[in-house]
């Protein structure tokens, strides 16, 4: 692993070939986002058309995965089939720790299998397994069958799999990781589907010695005590991310009814408090994290007359609650769980799916499209119809649903209704806080709310100017790119200050990187932006749909002048760093 060596496992699905490469030089890029971006450039991933079978998928851990608490994530870098440019998605679960114990620092998957396969990867083995029997099955059934028939190392393995949406090429299909976590956004599932790769099982059964010494053990304890004994992570443990629902609603920042509104009269019903008091059954952690932010709700459903009941465990988070809740005016938490469960089974990206259905509902009401197109009548809050619509979307049942599966904006371009498509690079995340968030997502390198957290600036800034906003965005980006190279969970951004990052790196022999960590972060930013622009992202053509200027936010109705100025300044900044 990272500390002694850097091991890159290349798997070529076309020729069923495996190659192990030793690349200690990649340490210069720290790991995670940094090392994977560098490798992506070397493999000329940006020159291979999106969706081409040669298009590589790179999974990367970083030097601190498993070494310190909350260093739990894995970064995936690929060319997004959805945007055609930079694809980057992060997932938790067990994968990070398991890859560390499997001695695989970067996993590169190229080519396309002749027939559906799944991979079983261990510290000393790679198996290509027939997955024809799994093709067509939903995400949960796939997981169950793999667990049932592949008994290797229960508890020390991670299972990634895709569902029917990915098999059919829906451009925003995700990858499910260990039932409750995901590489959700920018179509990584789609790319696996194109490669006939149904699932990946990673077994982490090896041991290493990287100098487990008293100094390291002491630092681990220091961090551990902060995690369990301070308030730093309380929010994530207590109500979890859904604690955002009510505060956002109170300040006119909860995207509602396809962004027609920023407040939802039933917000209480779908709040973190309601979920926790009534539906929460347990919390789970990613391996290596003591927080336990994965909130699992109980979906209890009657399936027959008298007292016939079944129950399902569904993990919920703010983004899912907004996309499948307020955005569709879903009035109860129980219905939100039903919609989440459906999205999970089909292997869709929850955010994109909710926003796409919200646009479809409004387009139907405005008569831009008709029931003839959709084959179903959708109405705000009509969960049963939305459950059906999600199926139609995943299975691409007709021309309309096929096109919607290319993305909300792709459908809007064809039918009209671009003005009210809630798309900022990709379907929006759950913050109608103001123009800085809108710009930060529309221009973020992976169009994620987590790129630079513009929503936080909208809420907290005392000096609210485009200049101050850009400074904030850049400083967040600089630190986050380092965190995701370690690879840390971004919930630990308060825990891992620059000083603690440097200390952690020094303890494992990354003294040089610790010393220059800010500069390395800047290099990684530069590389990512260079590649994103090379793949076609047009800095001079960033558009914020009209809807965003019509709806109240915490900062009132966004001022077009402020917004456009920030876009221009941000674009100039990026042009400057990639020059």
């Amino acid at each position: 692993m990272w500390i002694n060596d850097v091991r890159v496992l290349h798997i070529d699905l076309t020729n069923k070939k495996v190659k192990l490469e030793h690349r200690p030089d990649l340490k210069e890029w720290i790991g995670g986002t940094g090392a994977a971006s560098k490798l992506f450039e070397e493999l000329k991933g940006h020159e291979i058309p999106p969706g081409d079978e040669a298009s590589p998928i790179i999974f990367a851990t970083g030097p601190l995965n498993g070494v310190l608490p909350l260093m739990t994530k894995v970064v995936a870098i690929y060319r997004s089939p959805y945007t055609g440019d930079w694809g980057e998605s992060h997932a938790g679960g067990r994968l990070g720790m398991v890859m560390a114990y499997a001695g695989i620092d970067l996993l590169v998957i190229t080519g396309k299998a002749e027939r559906p396969v799944y991979l079983v990867i261990g510290p000393h083995s790679v198996e290509f397994k027939d997955a024809r029997h799994l093709w067509g099955l939903d995400v949960f059934t796939t997981g169950r069958l793999i667990r049932l028939h592949d008994k290797s190392a229960s508890g020390r393995r991670s299972i990634l799999r895709i569902g029917p949406a990915a098999e059919r090429g829906v451009k925003f299909a995700g990858v499910n990781v260990d039932t409750f976590r995901h590489f959700g956004r920018l179509g990584l599932g789609t790319l696996m589907g194109m490669k006939n790769l149904k699932a990946i099982v990673v077994v982490g059964d090896d041991s290493t010695h990287f100098g487990v010494n008293p100094e390291y053990t002491k630092f681990y304890k220091e961090i551990y005590d902060l995690v369990v004994g301070s308030d730093l992570l309380h929010k994530y443990h207590d109500l979890g991310t859904p604690q955002n629902v009510l505060p956002l609603n109170n300040i006119k920042s909860l995207p509602t009814k396809n962004m027609q509104k920023s407040q939802f009269e039933y917000a209480e019903n779908i709040s973190g408090e309601y979920f926790a008091d009534n539906l929460l059954v347990r919390k789970i952690a990613c391996s290596g994290c003591q927080v336990g932010c994965i909130h699992v709700g109980l979906l209890r459903e009657q399936f027959g007359p008298e007292h016939e009941y079944k129950y399902t465990q569904v993990s919920y988070d703010h983004e899912l609650i907004f996309a499948l809740g307020s955005m569709l005016e879903t009035r109860t938490a129980e219905e939100v769980l039903k919609l989440i469960d459906q999205v999970e089974r089909l292997g869709l990206d929850a955010i994109s799916s909710g926003v796409a259905l919200a646009w479809t509902t409004e387009a139907l009401q405005r008569g831009i499209i008709s029931e003839k197109d959709t084959g179903i009548k959708l109405q705000w809050g009509d969960t049963e119809r939305y459950l059906e619509a999600l199926q139609m979307l995943a299975y691409r049942v007709n021309d309309f649903w096929h096109l919607l599966g290319e993305g909300t904006m792709a459908a809007a371009r064809e039918y009209g209704g671009e003005d009210f498509a809630a798309v900022l690079g990709q379907e929006m995340a759950g913050y109608a806080t103001g123009p800085v968030f809108y710009v930060s997502q529309a221009m973020g390198v992976r169009h994620s709310h987590l790129d630079t957290a513009g929503y936080s600036f909208d809420q907290k800034a005392t000096e609210y100017t485009p200049e101050a906003a850009l400074e904030y965005i850049v400083s967040e980006d600089r630190r986050r790119v380092v965190l995701t190279s370690l690879v840390s969970c971004l919930f630990a951004r308060g825990l891992y200050t620059w000083d603690r990052i440097k200390k952690g790196l020094s303890l494992i022999g990354y003294e040089k990187q610790a010393k220059h960590v800010e500069e390395i972060g800047d290099e990684i930013r530069r590389l990512r932006w260079k590649l994103k622009v090379a793949m076609g992202f047009d800095l001079d053509n960033v558009k914020i749909p009209k809807r965003y200027f019509e709806t109240e936010t915490f900062r009132g109705k966004p001022d077009p002048e402020f917004t456009n100025k920030l876009i221009k300044m941000y674009a100039s900044h990026i042009k400057e760093i990639i020059k």
Partner: protein
């Protein structure tokens, strides 16, 4: 003497900090395999966790099976491991009725709990604890 007990497994969040602590303190190792206790799911994460660990037997079958007395019964339950006497035969692994011992493929020694309790200091929910045996007292 106190014995490691899984007090309430349903509170486990699966962070695996206990396993990492065992490997780190007892074996100075970075490992999930090299941990005397094993956190697993019962059958997928939605089924909940189970923790397989040494039960601290008062008449330990592993010690009885050990031909070299590398493993001997510990006062209060469980075993004491004397590595210098171990020949790596693996009889203890076969004898354990709950599969709580695994042979280390590299070091040829059993990964076995010695009731040191370090794992319990890294459990955020006190799922595992060192517990003194308490015999219920009944008034006659």
């Amino acid at each position: 003497m106190a014995i490691l007990k899984v007090v309430d497994v349903d509170k486990c969040i699966g962070c695996m900090s206990c396993m990492q602590a065992c490997a780190r303190f007892r074996y100075q190792s970075f490992s999930l395999y090299r941990a005397a206790l094993q956190v697993k799911t019962r059958g997928g994460i939605s089924s909940g966790f189970q923790i397989n660990t040494c039960l601290g037997c008062t008449e330990p079958a592993c010690a009885e099976a050990c031909p070299t007395e590398a493993l001997i019964p510990r006062k209060g339950g469980g075993v004491v491991f004397r590595q210098n006497l171990c020949i790596g035969c693996g009889e203890c692994e076969k004898a354990c009725p709950v599969d709580a011992i695994r042979m280390d493929p590299e070091w040829h020694i059993p990964i076995v709990c010695v009731q040191c309790g370090i794992c319990t200091q890294y459990c955020p929910h006190e799922v595992i604890q060192m517990v003194e045996e308490v015999v219920p007292h009944v008034d006659k």
